[in-house]
Structures are given as C-alpha cells and as structure tokens.
Amino acid sequence: MALLEVRNLHAYYGHVHALRGISLTVEEGEIVTLIGANGAGKTTTLRSISGLLRPREGEIVFDGEVINGVPAHQIVYRGICQAPEGRKIFSTLTVQENLNMGAYSLGNDRAAIEANRRRVFALFPRLEERKNQIAGTLSGGEQQMLAIGRALMARPRLLMLDEPSLGLAPMLVRAIFQTIREINEQGVTVLLVEQNARAALRLADRGYVLETGRIVLSGPARELLGDEKVRKAYLGES
C-alpha cells in the first residue's frame, strides 16, 4: 500500500479550476517530484494535501486513512509536514523559536524535541551557529535550511517541500538537494515540488509532470529526464 495516494483531486481558487483531476501515489521511502510551469497546480496540490485548501472533489489517502477534510492544524499529527513555498519562516522569531514552532505538535515532550533538534542541527550545522539570531536576518539559503529544518522538527513520515531551490544560487541548490537526499536516506519519504526540473528529476525516484491542473506525464525520474517532451518543455533544450 502506498504511503500517500491522491485520487482524482479537483480544487478551486475562487472560480479558477486549479486542479482538474490529479492522481498520484508516493510509496514509503521514495522521493517523488512534481514538476511543471508556474501555475500548473503544484503548490495547490501540496496545499490540498496539507489541508490548507479543501478540495472540491477527490480523495487523499495517507497511511490508509482518508485525510481530506481534516483541518490543516491536525495534518501534522498524522505525520505530514510541509516546508511552504517562499519558506515562510517566522521572520521576527529567532531560529530556535522557529524550530520550536516546528515541534509544536509534540507538545511538552522535551526529550523528543531535543532529539529532533539534534538531528536538524546535524543536517544543518549553520542553524546551530545561528540559533539565537532573528530568522528574518538570515540569508536566503539559511532561511531555506530553517524552513526544511522546521518541518523536520515534528519528525514527519512524509516531508513535502515546495520549491526549495527558489531564488538560491546554483551551489546552494546543490547543497540543499544533497541534504534532501540525506533526509530521505534517514527514512523520510519526500514529495518535492520544483520548477528546477533537472535538479529535481536527478534527485527523485519518480516524477509527475503537471500542466494546467492535470498530470500529463509520469514515470521513473530517469525516464522523464530522457523524455523528449520533458527535455523541450522543462529542461530548456531544443
């Protein structure tokens, strides 16, 4: 049984029919990527899964349970965490406080919070150096680390990342993607939304290509990388 299964998802933003029947699966332990142009529905898909947006139609099954209709603040208790698009760190809070908010769902279980903090600091030593700094003063790359680290603080089974490469220099993108691989090797399933299709497909096991709210192509990431249509439309080759 797949860890996450999305079936025939339809969602609207106001009157805009943003998702027109998305179906996808993510198996435990995989890295799956959703690629596509701006406005294709990638973020909307993640927002539907995390409960911020209520889909009009369709079903989202996580770990055998239907989760559409579950309020967003309860989704994290099911084991799904999201690092949202644009990082959305709490800019006037310190790095440490941001991480504590990531662990909000753990309540006062200090031992678990401390263990997760150690794990996050091991992945991102930079965050430990800056733990008392106001998060809004971090560099773009550090803010992205914080957004991912914050999402890891609840020790999710499924980590959803929305455009982690956005606005970062190529070298930083490589470093972030390397860390995503490490996180995955520690047993966290990853659903990665990216416009940087090449980097995402190199990292992922499987990929889905979205166009105007529909999945137009899917398959093993290696095959998608070689697919002529993908190369033309998303990898900038002629």
């Binding site: 309020p71 989704i75 994290v76 800019s91 909000y104």
Partner: protein, 305 residues
C-alpha cells in the same frame, strides 16, 4: 522639583492604565489585523462590574475590605470580561473572517454601541461613583517623597499594572503557546502547518486582551472615583492612540506607548494646563508618526527571498 516628580508619578499611573487597555487593541490587531473598536467598551464594562456590582456587594455583605478582597474583585472581573470577549469574538467577528477586512470593523463598531447601550440600560446613564463605604474601608495611607505625594492605592495600582504587563511579556516571549501566538500574528497558514490551532489562539487573545482591559477599567474607576458609560470611547481612543504610538501589533510597543502618553499628558497638565493636555499629547503623537510612521517599535523585518 516636587511638582515634576508628582506629575511623573501621576503620568506613570495613568499611563499604565492606557498601556493595559492598549495591549488588547494591539494583540487583536496582531493576530487578526482587526481594530477591535469594542475593546474600549469591554474596559468600561470591567469598570462597571467591578465598581458598581462587586464593590456594592462587598459593602452590603459587610465583608472587611482589604487587599485580598480587592485582588479577588480584580480576578473575578477579569475572568468575566474575558468570557464576554470570547462571546464577542464568536458572535461578532468569527462569522466574518472570510468576508474581508471591512465587515468585521463595522461589526466591531456595532458591538461597541451594543455594549455601551447595554451598560447604560443596566446601570443608568448618569455618572456612577465608586461606593464611598468601600473607599473609606481602604486604608488612606500616604507618603511624601521629594515634595510629591502618593497614596497606598496608587502604589497598589502601579504594582498590579506592572505585574500584569510583566506576566504577559513573559508569557508571550518564553512559553510555547505565547510563541505560537507570535507565529499566528505573522502568518496564519504557516502556523497551521506547524499544528497550531489558529482559532484557539484567537480565542486566547480575546480572553487576555479584554481581561487586561477590565483590570484597567477597575483601576481607572478607583483612581478617579467615578465612571460613566461612555468611558470606553474616551479611554479607548487614548489607549488605541497609545497602541499606534508604540507600533500597532507590537506588545512591548503598546506598553511603552501607553506609559509615554500618560507621562506627556501629566506633564502637559502640570506645566501648561489641563485644557491643553490632549492637544499637546496628540501634537507629539503626530510628530512621532511623521518621523516613524510604523510607531516607536513597529519595525518590520523584511523577509528575504
């Protein structure tokens, strides 16, 4: 010298009332970006419940009036007004969160009128004085310091104000739920992703803000000795001004803004004339807002992309 000290002390006292009320405006604005125009009336309601109902009850029952009784009155009134705050949020605001920013403001004005008229109908439209018997029962202790005189009551009120403010500051900055409150003020959706129940935080804000305002209400009544049903407008406007002055949405800002406004008013009263205190206070406010449009502490840390 003595007069300066006296005015500073008076200003600090009045300023701490403004600060307590301003916190309610700023906290609600922080999490909802809504000006709760009914907040001043919750403050006024606190003054009425505390001074008219409870104080006369105490006098009638014949309980000895002491600090313990006074503190009990504070706690009861703060809880009651906190409950009214929650009801207000549920009825007047929650159904309108998705309707945009203007409808809740209109609803707030409506709630303000409702509370004011409700109190007027219940307690009458005339000034109410604080029961004389209650006042007489409190020890009239007075000290002199460098030519300035201050009473035991004033010291107690200052102590209560500062304790409440310190408690709020510690709660917001050093507890898990307090941090969640700051997170909600920054970004509702991202707070939800963390597992924070945003509606519960909003309810909490609508307990704490009105409760603090109610404490301010009792103290204004104790300090001036009489209250009236439009108290919420006059003091609410001042406290709202204090919140803007400090930087709306910023909790330490509301405290500083309130104290500053009180001090300026007291100094203007002492050294110019009472008739000019509002003009001077608001003149200074305008100057500060021209120089710092976001208020004294209202600094926004830009998010880098």
């Amino acid at each position: 010298m003595g007069q300066l000290l006296q005015q500073l002390l008076n200003g600090l006292t009045i300023g701490s009332f403004y600060a307590l009320i301003a916190l309610g405006y700023t906290m609600v604005y922080g999490v909802l970006k809504l000006i709760n125009f009914a907040h001043g009336d919750l403050f006024m309601l606190g003054a009425y419940i505390g001074l008219v109902t409870l104080a006369s009850l105490v006098v009638n029952v014949g309980l000895a009036v002491n600090l313990g009784v006074l503190l009990a009155i504070f706690l009861i009134v703060m809880s009651l007004v906190g409950v009214v705050g929650v009801i207000l949020e549920r009825i007047a605001y929650r159904p309108l969160y998705k309707a945009g920013r203007l409808p809740p403001i209109v609803s707030a004005l409506g709630a303000s009128i409702f509370l004011q008229n409700g109190v007027m109908l219940l307690y009458g439209a005339r000034y109410r004085t604080f029961p004389e018997a209650f006042k007489q029962a409190m020890p009239e202790v007075m000290w002199e310091l460098g030519g300035a005189r201050f009473t035991l009551m004033q010291v107690i009120m200052l102590a209560i104000s500062f304790l409440l403010m310190a408690a709020l500051y510690l709660f917001v900055n050093y507890t898990r739920v307090g941090t969640a409150m700051r997170a909600v003020a920054l970004d509702h959706d991202t707070a939800r992703l963390m597992g924070i129940d945003v509606n519960r935080i909003i309810v909490l804000v609508f307990i704490i803000g009105p409760a603090l305002g109610a404490a301010g209400g009792i103290m204004v009544g104790l300090f001036y000795g009489r209250i009236y049903f439009t108290l919420g407008w006059s003091y609410g406007l001042k406290a709202f001004t204090a919140a803007i002055l400090g930087g709306i949405g910023n909790i330490p800002g509301a405290m500083i803004g309130g104290l500053l406004l009180g001090l300026v008013e007291a100094l203007a009263t002492g050294f110019v004339s009472d008739a000019w205190k509002n003009a001077i206070a608001f003149f200074i406010l305008v100057i500060i807002l021209i120089l710092r449009p976001t208020g004294l502490l209202g600094e926004r840390v830009a998010e880098k992309l």
